[in-house]
Symmetry: none
Subunit: 243 residues, 4 copies
DNA sequence: AATGAATGAGCGTTCATTCAT
DNA sequence: GATGAATGAACGCTCATTCAT
């Protein structure tokens, strides 16, 4: 059994190496940049071996996406545990989102690929629902904090708006901004010198618009951002700084 | 001469059919979903004929993108001419953006594809700058309205924020939300029953956060939305209703 | 009829323009470098018009070859008329051959192309025999001079050797050398600094070997070369000098 | 291991079959006559298999050329080792050249193709220099024998002529004659009944012209030709006889 | 006679996937 | 379980040739 475990460890390790390489290839050249031949060659395994791990190319991409979502979910969970008032906690989520995309741009890119390529036909329904559940839980965390805020009197949503709508707003804002940042190289020419800062300000302003206490006029969220970064995401933050 | 015109009309018409089909293929299967063979086959023309219209696959995609951007730019320009206070005019832009993506979802999808595929190597610099200028002008319209609002005293931006940052916020919000809407089919399960309404509310709330007069609490922007739709974009609105 | 003649002149003129361009294209990029589309485009005629002149691509190449051979035949004929002893006259042929290949390298190149591409299947037997007759007459001129030399006692061929064998030797030597010169760019590195001079010396030595009077030791053939160039081929020689 | 060797043998063997077929196709229809589709079809392998052996069409042609040059170089080297006076040794080279072109006419044709087609862009500089070095060494062998002849007093070159010039003469004569023989089917009609014999006589006469001892009048080079054929190139000679 | 849009067989090449060893 | 040779459908693209106008 010890033997088996070692074997299993080896297999898991190789699987990780495949995924790591695949992610880099995907980031480098999109869906076409990822090739089974290339993986086999660069990893110095035979193609057959790669196929022993993943039954087809699409499954690799799905695995990549699952890994990405898992990783972000983990960061979101740690963020949600931040002790403070509801808006501080939602700020922690914001920190997590930004750190994630800056620290693991390849992971983020995978999500974009998966949205534009038609992969689903070759995949099992199980895979698909696995990813949806990940998405679901991420949303749940954010909505939960909003609900907490409402419960604690920090926030009151107008009629016809549910916490999920606000969560969707945060999600859209981040996803849209990070997509544009990742794929546009003319932002400075458009007059946007520091897009990440702009995202934070815009989100903050939106939350002010919802009158989520405490307002950004009464609280230094920039400083909070730094504090969360170094307290909750010490490792990630340091890695980012050193890059 | 009548004869010549008929031929030319036929050609133009076929070009449109090629682009329409190409757009659908792109929307269906991404960059790989669009194939020259497929176009020729489905349109029942020879490959040579397709190549008489477009010298390579990339040029089709570029043409698609240019068409998309032109069309939206046109709608933005009409929106910007709406007579009213600055926030009403920015609402008109919002109407344009939403109508555009709902009316021409394939057009919108093309933009996403073009962001992730590496098409540019096969294209001239002229093409590239043409598209960038389109983007630039769209941004310029939005920033211009924001500047007008500032000049007219409807809006005052905090220190360190320029109109472009706000415009970027609107762009991100829309682009992100519409991307998610277009590629996710589980929004209802996530609790977001009407994502388009949610976007409007979130954006409106952000503008409230910037204290852009008149605040949504003092003005019925929902009604304005309807009015702009039926006045400025009568045709588009009707088409949308009938679908 | 005057009208018809003008028309015919126009047609002939256009045919020449087609052939000129075709020859340049052939020289530039070999068999593949010659394209019907390219001809039509650069000459600003429609493809149909080109096909009115030549029924297929191969016919153009054949025409090119015929033109080449005609031109050289003309030069050979003028050379053969040089007044002098037989070896002087054969020298005149040598001058013609060298001037031809140096002055019209594209023409020479056509001959090489036609030897390596399989064009004949698409051509009529008539074309083929036309070319062969050209070749025949060129050979005939050279053999004739040799025969004259024998008749005049300048030369006596050993048993088993006919004038055509010697003519073949001259032809081979020239064709081989000029081919190598045209397609090899490393002759200087191989130690051959002036290949054209080398050809002349080698041929002259071979004729000495046949004891063709007057031997090169008794006659300044280099000076004769100059004289023939400037007397018989004044125009060609001048053109060459000015290039 | 026996197993592995068998597989490798099979692969090597197929590679040879590909090259053989490719050579025939090239000889038949020039650069265009060689097609990857055609190879796959005639050999009844899939296209992918062909591409497993050669990464592109050009590499096949290069391989063909290298094989050709290697083979002739080998024959030249064996010829150069013939024990005898310098002119006997140069005769051995002549035997090698003729046997080569008669025994492997397709090989010879490859060289002509490669001279006129623009293959080099798709190939590495290494390939190119490999071929040039082959050419260089062939030339070196011939020049070396000439130098030996000079050193041994068999031969004295006139002023202004270097051994390489004479070697170039031999090369031109052979290359030209063999090219014409290979591509012209009307030699008998032109009065050249045995062109190979004619080449030998012409070359011999040229060497007589250079007064290279022993002169053909004092030595039976025809008989030497037979002797070298059967002694140095016994295998090749026999193969030729039996064809 | 001139046009040029239309054709379609053909090309070189790629790559996910299979399966005998 | 590992290997990698073999497959073959698909791709983007070219171009000589035809023929309705």
């Amino acid at each position: 059994m010890e033997n088996l475990t070692r074997k299993q460890r080896e297999i898991k390790e190789r699987e990780d190496r495949i995924l790591d390489l695949a992610r880099r290839m995907l980031a480098e050249g999109g869906y076409l940049g990822l090739s089974m031949d290339g993986i086999a060659e660069q990893l110095e395994y035979s193609k057959g071996t790669i196929y022993n791990h993943f039954p087809c190319k699409e499954e690799i991409i799905i695995s990549l996406a699952v890994e990405t979502m898992d990783r972000r979910l983990g960061m979101f969970q740690r963020a949600a545990e931040f002790v403070g008032r509801s808006r501080e906690r939602i700020s922690a989520i914001g920190v997590a989102a930004e750190l994630f995309v800056r620290l693991y741009p390849h992971h983020f890119f995978v999500e974009q690929i998966i949205r534009s390529a038609s992969i689903w036909e070759k995949t099992t329904e199980k895979r698909r629902s696995l990813m949806q559940s990940c998405e679901h839980r991420c949303m749940g965390i954010v909505s939960g904090i909003i609900r907490d805020g409402i419960g604690q009197g920090d926030l009151k949503l107008p009629d016809g708006i549910v916490p999920e709508d606000v969560a969707f707003g945060l999600w859209s804002q981040c996803f849209g901004a990070y997509s544009i940042i990742a794929t546009s190289d003319s932002l400075p020419q458009l007059g946007i010198s520091d897009p990440f800062v702009a995202v934070r300000r815009n989100i903050s302003t939106m939350l002010d618009g919802y009158a989520w206490q405490q307002l950004s006029s009464d609280y230094d969220y920039q400083q909070l951002f730094e504090r969360i970064s170094s307290e909750v995401f010490a490792d990630e933050y340091q890695t980012l700084q050193s890059v």
